[in-house]
């Protein structure tokens, strides 16, 4: 196939893109109809997301983080945040929370314009983020929903101890599962859980292949902006469903094809040109200016070859898979291993490793104003990784969904300076090689 034919095929949206869009949209529809269809609704978080378990009880799954980011991408969060601040919530706190509270205050209309239901249970998966605890206390105050605390201890020493695993397992067995049974009225069937987890493992296998395809030159994917779409299903209401497994199978096929053709990543404006910069990115993206932000990269030929954000809902690229043979232990292991639950030294190791494994030109950190879990310590990560890899790093500052904290000129200026820095360094290396030849 000629590259022209390939271009013609890819200007129209990729099948995987359409599928994931439909899946997410369908979930919103399901949520909006849950009450009338007699389905119970569970709200939970992306890190430590126990989707397979919730499915065992026939819950419809609602992810407030996804709601906030989807609203952000549709540029609706500015108003919602101001609404929450007017109601007394501080300017300094997480903007996901404020968007959610603002949304609730304005009729709980979700990103697709369909109303979101009052949750029947809040599964407070306390994983990797302090704010989660307060978020669900606030939602609980609003709705009076029953709240189940699942405390996932932080890997303070960079290891999962037996004590930590046992604690999570015991909570699951003695508190979470019985409560979900009671609220849903559905008896827990461990084999059903195993089945879902079998599917999860398959999907994880393909996702990891896709993420690691970025080791190639040129990389056929963008592991940050592009990956936002790739991880959608697995980080939310679909992990463990055959639908998701299928999605990842199709996605893998598409990327295999791109690899075969030597293509770079697809962008909203079609094929990217020459791959000029390979970056590792740490930190969540900005959602309110997502497209503009992405464009600042691909218009310069910059592709992200690895990101830590793509691991926020689970770290699968170092071997972990959901294990149907030890389902509860595996769920515990999954939660404990989510990116934001890893300690800083581990994160530094991971980033340095990504730079080497993916042959990146350097590390870019997108520091999010309202996220301390990711943000506190990122300046040290920058210097650590620069020191260990010898590659230059750069630091930009934005926010998740508060449009007041995305300054395009500011970000572009820093990005362009960084790209030019990389050029200058490479340029000199080339000159030296030329002279030596």
């Amino acid at each position: 196939m000629t590259s022209k034919q390939a271009t013609a095929r890819t200007v129209q949206k990729e099948e995987s893109m359409l599928r994931q869009k439909a899946m997410i949209a369908d979930n919103f529809t399901r949520l909006s109809r849950a009450k009338e269809e007699g389905r119970k609704v569970a709200s939970t978080f992306v890190p430590g997301n126990l989707n397979e378990l919730l499915m065992c009880f026939d819950f419809a799954r609602n992810f407030p983080e996804i709601n906030s980011l989807q609203l952000g991408m549709r540029k609706k969060t500015g108003r919602l945040i101001m609404e929450a601040e007017r109601a007394g919530h501080s300017e300094d706190v997480c903007t996901y929370v404020k968007s959610d509270l603002g949304m609730m205050a304005q009729g709980n209309i979700g990103p697709t314009g369909e109303p979101l239901p009052k949750p029947d249970v809040l599964l407070l998966s306390y994983t990797g983020c302090f704010t989660f605890m307060k978020w669900f206390e606030l939602v609980r105050e609003q709705y009076g929903s029953e709240t189940i605390m699942l405390h996932v201890p932080y890997q303070g020493d960079g290891v999962i101890t037996e004590n930590m695993r046992d604690y999570v397992v015991t909570q699951l067995k003695d508190e979470v599962i019985p409560a979900l049974e009671r609220i849903s009225g559905v008896k827990f069937d461990i084999d059903r859980l195993r089945e879902y987890m079998r599917e999860s493992a398959k999907a994880e296998e393909d996702l990891v292949w896709v993420l690691q395809s970025a080791k190639n030159k040129p990389s056929p994917i963008d592991a940050y902006f592009g990956a936002v779409y790739y991880v959608g299903p697995i980080f939310s209401a679909f992990r463990g469903t055959p639908e998701a497994t299928d999605y990842y199978r199709v996605l893998r096929g598409e990327i295999e094809e791109r690899l075969r053709l030597g293509l770079g990543p697809i962008t909203p404006e079609g094929e990217m040109g020459e791959e000029r910069y390979r970056l590792v990115v740490e930190g969540p993206p900005n959602w309110t200016s997502f497209r503009d932000f992405w464009k600042m990269f691909y218009s310069e030929g910059a592709v992200v070859v690895a990101s830590t954000y793509a691991k926020v809902g689970g770290v699968y690229d170092f071997g972990f898979r959901h294990d149907p043979d030890h389902p509860i232990e595996s769920l515990a292991e999954y939660c404990l291993g989510c990116y934001t639950n890893l300690n800083l030294p581990t994160r530094a190791d991971m980033l340095a490793r990504y730079i080497e494994d993916y042959e990146a030109d350097g590390l870019l950190i997108n520091s999010i104003k309202s996220c301390n879990s990711f943000g506190a310590g990122q300046l040290l990560l920058l210097r650590e990784v620069e020191g260990r890899t010898g590659k230059p790093g750069a630091f930009i500052e934005t926010d998740l969904v508060d449009p007041r904290y995305f300054s395009a000129a500011n970000v572009k200026n820093r990005l362009e300076s960084y790209f030019q820095m990389i050029d200058q360094k490479k340029g000199r290396a080339t000159a030296t090689e030329g002279a030596a030849a």
Binding site: A87, S90, F130, D174, L344, A376
Partner: protein, 387 residues
């Protein structure tokens, strides 16, 4: 000793950013070790039982210029971690053999990792406490964590920590807790005799002094203050909340008082009042500490409240118990726990018609005039408009 003398001594300890008294304690006998800890709570008994001195680290305050510490934090993060790093890199914490970082928020959590990377030769532990309060679940996890901590300290001390050592330490800390409780009761009963700026310094002294000495100091202060002839003022009685981690400048506490308020309860240095009752000295000491934490401990933003109906109840109860007329919410800028919790606590107060006012500060806030005005207006409004 007069109150003035006691307070002067406490002020000197408070002003000393070089931790001279800690160094002196350490140098007095060979082999002594010091373990630092950040807010909110660590079981100091275990450190004490190891023969070590627990030292509360509360950042650098308003007299410390932060130069190097700023390299580690963006501007939208609170000041305590940067001033703590400043203390570290300028050698002021050289006497510490280890640091504990309790699970209070993500900033302090991540600071434990920064500490490991920067001061890798010192013991640094993220100290997790359970958010599940069942004996067989959270309790089991926590007892195990306490056990690990004990083993770490044994290794550091080069000797075993026996259960009897622990029981003795528990008793010593029970005494300290009783003294603090008495101090707070005294202040709530006769606030004109126990100025909060003084009580604060007395409590801060407990962050660096050996606990036995601190208990004596508190008792001495109560006795001396009781006999002082200090004028009663027509002040309004308030509870101050939100100050459990990054500390306000001493001037801020004074400003609240100057504005016409008696602080009759607060959440300063919760570590001294975290366990509410005497911890039993019979039986397994770690189990006792675990149970005390699960069932007899205080409440704060960093602690999950499993019962929705009880959210904010501790604050309402404090207002009742201490016959307060209002609440002042004082939170450090960017403090996730205090600021996220605030609206819920305010709703609880509103449900009980308890007036409140709120502001933010930083540990190096410079201008107190707005605080005085706000607190003053609040005090006036209570005095003028309350039924």
């Amino acid at each position: 000793m007069s109150t003035a003398e006691i307070v002067a001594r406490c002020q000197a300890l408070f002003d000393d950013l070089d931790f001279t008294s800690v160094r002196a304690w350490k140098d007095a006998e060979p082999g002594r070790k010091v373990i630092g800890y950040l807010p909110v709570y660590v079981p100091r008994e275990i450190i004490h039982a190891a023969g070590m001195l627990p030292v509360g680290i509360l950042g650098g305050g308003d007299q410390l210029e932060v130069i190097h510490g700023d390299a580690y934090y963006q501007s939208y993060i609170c000041r305590i971690p940067r001033s703590t790093i400043e203390l570290g890199v300028t050698g002021r914490l050289a006497a510490l053999d280890g640091m504990l970082f309790p699970s209070i928020c993500d900033v302090i959590r991540n600071l434990s990792g920064i500490w490991k990377l920067m001061f890798g030769d010192k013991y640094a532990r993220y100290f997790d406490v359970p958010q599940n309060y069942e004996d067989e679940i959270g309790g089991k996890f926590y007892a195990h964590e306490l056990g690990e901590f004990r083993r770490d300290l044994e290794r550091l001390a080069g000797r075993a920590i026996t259960d009897d050592d622990l029981r003795r330490s528990i008793e010593v800390y029970n005494e300290n807790r009783r003294a603090v409780a008495d101090l707070y009761d005294f202040r709530a009963d006769e606030p004109w005799k126990a100025a909060s700026s003084e009580v604060y310094l007395v409590l801060r002294a407990g962050m660096v002094l050996p606990v036995e000495e601190h208990t004596r100091l508190i008792r001495d202060y109560i006795e001396a203050a009781r006999t002082e002839d200090r004028p009663l003022r027509d002040n309004c009685r308030v509870v101050v909340t939100g100050v459990f981690c990054e500390q306000p400048p001493l001037g801020l506490i004074k400003s609240i008082e100057m504005a016409g308020c008696y602080i009759v309860d607060d959440d300063f240095m919760l570590v001294t009042r975290w366990l509410l009752d005497d911890v039993p000295t019979e039986g397994d000491p770690l189990d006792n500490l675990a149970r005390a934490f699960l069932h007899h401990s205080n409440e704060t933003a960093a602690k999950y409240q499993p019962d929705a109906k009880r959210k904010g109840a501790y604050l309402v109860e404090s207002v009742r118990r201490n016959r307060a007329e209002g609440v002042i919410f004082a939170a450090p800028s960017f403090c996730d726990p205090a600021l996220l919790d605030r609206p819920m606590l305010q709703h609880a107060l509103a449900d009980h018609n308890i007036p409140y006012t709120a502001f933010k500060y930083a540990e190096n806030s410079g201008q107190m005039q707005p605080i005085r005005e706000q607190a003053g207006t609040f005090a006036d409004s209570i005095k003028l408009w309350s039924a």
